[in-house]
């Protein structure tokens, strides 16, 4: 029982990060049916910006907020410059562009900050909050998960109670009718990209703030596959699905680490890819996504 609890607790830690990156991917997918392969790297860059702002003296959480805004603006520019030129129905060029952005952003971060691991500010209090028998839950995990929930509730409010949120959901639902109602599609998509980048930056920052980790440019490379799988598992167009997917993948990770002795790091990756394969083949709409019928 203790072991199971510990696994649940462990799941919270990484699962929250995957959930936040997955949320970012879902936002973009909802609006554009595009999977942004560069999402992880954008998040990593955002986290580095946060780090740099903190080093320049801005208080921790202030740096996070400014970092999120900055990465949002950057993402809006990226959307306008690179993504908007393409027909959303033609997947190949868009996939390639996001792969290109992946390479470029990764390289830029590595050029500016090098590859040496750096210490990221501790966003949350350290130490164990709850101990049940042998199972320990750290404050970090609680706050990480709490941030996740906060982000989701904020997004929910933003999307349902504001005009631009309504526009975003309209565009996600029916692009042509949105045009006919006078919604400016370009601006709405930019908004989506900015939101996604901000969520991603928060996710990467929380991940880097883990007391046992340090930040360096490759930090999000592994997380990308896990986050994509989490998004698919939850349903690529469902925000709450992203949360559930993220936690599930986190849970799968902690289970795999326990039961499979050889090279646990690598095997969790294999587990994630297997999950992805199963989801995409048998239930592409995931847990909470909307089903679309595609017949030939």
């Amino acid at each position: 029982m203790d072991l199971f609890l510990q696994r649940l607790f462990d799941a919270l830690t990484n699962g929250s990060t995957y959930a936040l990156i997955a949320v970012a991917m879902v936002l973009i997918f909802k609006a554009t049916t595009l999977i942004n392969f560069a999402q992880g790297e954008q998040a990593m860059l955002g986290a580095f910006i946060v780090l740099q702002l903190w080093k320049w003296g801005i208080p921790m959480w202030g740096a996070v907020v400014v970092g999120m805004i900055f990465s949002g603006i950057l993402a809006a520019c990226l959307e306008r410059t690179f993504i908007r030129k393409f027909d959303p129905a033609d997947h190949l060029p868009l996939v390639i562009i996001t792969l290109g952005l992946f390479l470029v952003i990764n390289a830029v971060a590595a050029i500016i900050w090098r590859f040496d691991p750096l210490s990221f500010p501790q966003l949350f209090p350290s130490g164990k909050a709850i101990t049940i028998g042998n199972a320990r839950l750290s404050w970090y995990s609680i706050f990480a998960f709490g941030s996740c929930l906060l982000v989701l509730f904020t997004l929910q409010t933003l999307l349902t109670k504001t005009k631009i949120g309504l526009a975003f959901r309209a565009v996600s639902s029916n692009l042509e009718s949105s045009r006919l109602c006078g919604i400016k599609i370009g601006q709405t998509l930019q908004f989506g990209w900015a939101l996604a980048a901000a969520a991603g930056t928060l996710g990467a920052s929380i991940y880097a703030a883990n007391p046992v980790l340090q930040i360096e440019p490759t930090i999000m490379l592994r997380a990308l596959i896990f986050s994509i799988t989490a998004a698919a598992l939850g349903g690529l167009d469902s925000l709450w699905g992203a949360l559930i997917g993220g936690l599930t993948i986190g849970f799968v990770q902690s289970v795999v680490v326990q039961y499979i002795p050889f090279i646990p790091n690598e095997m969790t990756l294999a587990a994630a890819v297997v999950v992805l394969l199963i989801v995409l083949t048998f239930r592409p709409s995931g847990f909470l996504g909307t089903k679309t019928v595609e017949r030939v």
Binding site: I35, K85, V95, G100, V104, I105, A107, A232
Partner: protein
């Protein structure tokens, strides 16, 4: 036209057998047969991508998986069972074809973006698989599988046959006035001869692959593939068996990936896990796009781009107006990423299509001048 290309490459080969380099400013750019052999390996792998992505329209991004599979199969056969490299193709080709067909099965249900996702995931998985403890005796784990001769420490022998007049050609080239100096001094050493021979062999294998594929494209299955790429629904309605076409396309692409892998490990001498990571898959895509999706020459250009650009980027020690810092990081991937973006935006057909357009501008004017004379 192909003949002159071959001649050109042979000349380059003799000029740069071992230590050729071009100097620009204060930077030396290596252009040796080592690089060219790698370029051949990548070109064949990218040719595979042309088949599945360019001609059949399936966004299958996991070519590094088959590149690696071919490499490891070859390495294992050569190192543990003393097979000659070329013979390993007998296993590599059908093996990779089969694995490709099996892994391509999800493609029958998954399209577009989702397929891209899944194949990248598979590519990311490859290093994990070869590092598994249970496969250690075949793959050498994290350290990789060496194919060098353990006793003498030299590369597995690639001695050219005695009837090939390599020395004579080298001497002849050296005697050409003015440019003779570029072709080195004196007869070729054993190592140089071995390199030359490898280059010739690999080029022949590659040329055979390209020739076969160019025939495939013009044939009925080739047309079926292109029909699938252009419009799946119409293709199905006109009686094309979608499942069969896609599966075979995946098989061929994987087989080509495997052949490329064999060439790679024959050149490099070792098959190690990180040489076949998902980053390699992305770089192969860069080669595909930069060269030109859906063209044969694009595969050649792509291979050269992949083999040369990252290397040359890190060899660049100084450019006058660029601060030192920017040249020390992973400039290779920066440039490849930028190329990918810039080309997709401005030259979607890649370099080969752009080159064709330029060529056409010169070719069309000639017939007119003939008419005006009569």
């Amino acid at each position: 036209m192909w003949a002159s290309l071959v001649l050109f490459f042979l000349l380059i080969a003799f000029a740069y057998v071992d230590v050729g380099s071009i100097a620009i400013g204060s930077n030396k750019y290596n252009l040796s047969l080592i690089r060219l052999n790698k370029a051949i390996a990548y070109s064949v792998a990218i040719l595979g991508l042309q088949v599945v992505v360019g001609y059949t329209g399936q966004i299958a991004l996991g070519q590094s998986f088959f590149f690696g599979t071919g490499a490891y199969i070859s390495a294992w056969l050569v190192a543990d069972h003393s097979w000659p490299f070329l013979l390993t193709l007998v296993i590599v080709i059908p093996g990779c074809f089969l694995i490709g067909m099996i892994l391509g099965l999800p493609a029958l249900r998954i399209r577009g973006l989702y397929l891209a996702l899944l194949t990248l995931g598979l590519a990311a998985l490859f290093p994990t698989i070869v590092k598994l403890d249970s496969l250690y005796e075949y793959t050498g784990g994290a350290g990789g599988k060496l194919t060098t001769d353990k006793l003498t420490g030299s590369q597995y022998k690639f001695a050219p046959p005695s009837w090939l007049p390599l020395d004579e050609i080298a001497q002849a080239l050296q005697n050409i006035p003015l440019v003779g100096g570029y072709f080195g001094d004196g007869p070729l050493s054993n190592r140089e001869e071995s390199r030359m021979w490898k280059f010739i062999l690999f080029s022949l294998v590659a040329a055979l692959c390209f020739w076969l594929i160019s025939n495939l494209i013009k044939s009925k299955p080739g047309r079926a593939m292109r029909a699938v790429r252009d419009n799946e629904t119409s293709a199905a309605v006109s009686g094309i068996n979608l499942a069969m076409t896609k599966t075979i396309s995946f098989g061929i692409a994987s087989a080509l990936g495997g052949i490329g892998g064999m060439i790679y490990v024959a050149e490099v001498g070792i098959a190690s896990p990180d040489d076949f990571s998902s980053l390699v898959a992305i770089y192969l895509i860069v080669g595909l796009v930069v060269g030109g999706v859906g063209t044969l020459s694009g595969a050649v250009i792509g291979g050269l781009v992949y083999a040369l650009i990252p290397d040359w980027a890190s060899s660049t020690q100084s450019i006058s107006f660029v601060p030192q810092r920017w040249l020390q990081g992973p400039t290779g991937s920066l440039i490849l990423g930028l190329l990918l973006i810039v080309l997709t935006l401005f030259m979607p057909g890649g370099i080969s299509t752009a080159a064709k357009k330029v060529k056409n501008r010169f070719v069309t004017t000639q017939p007119q001048s003939k008419l005006s004379n009569s």
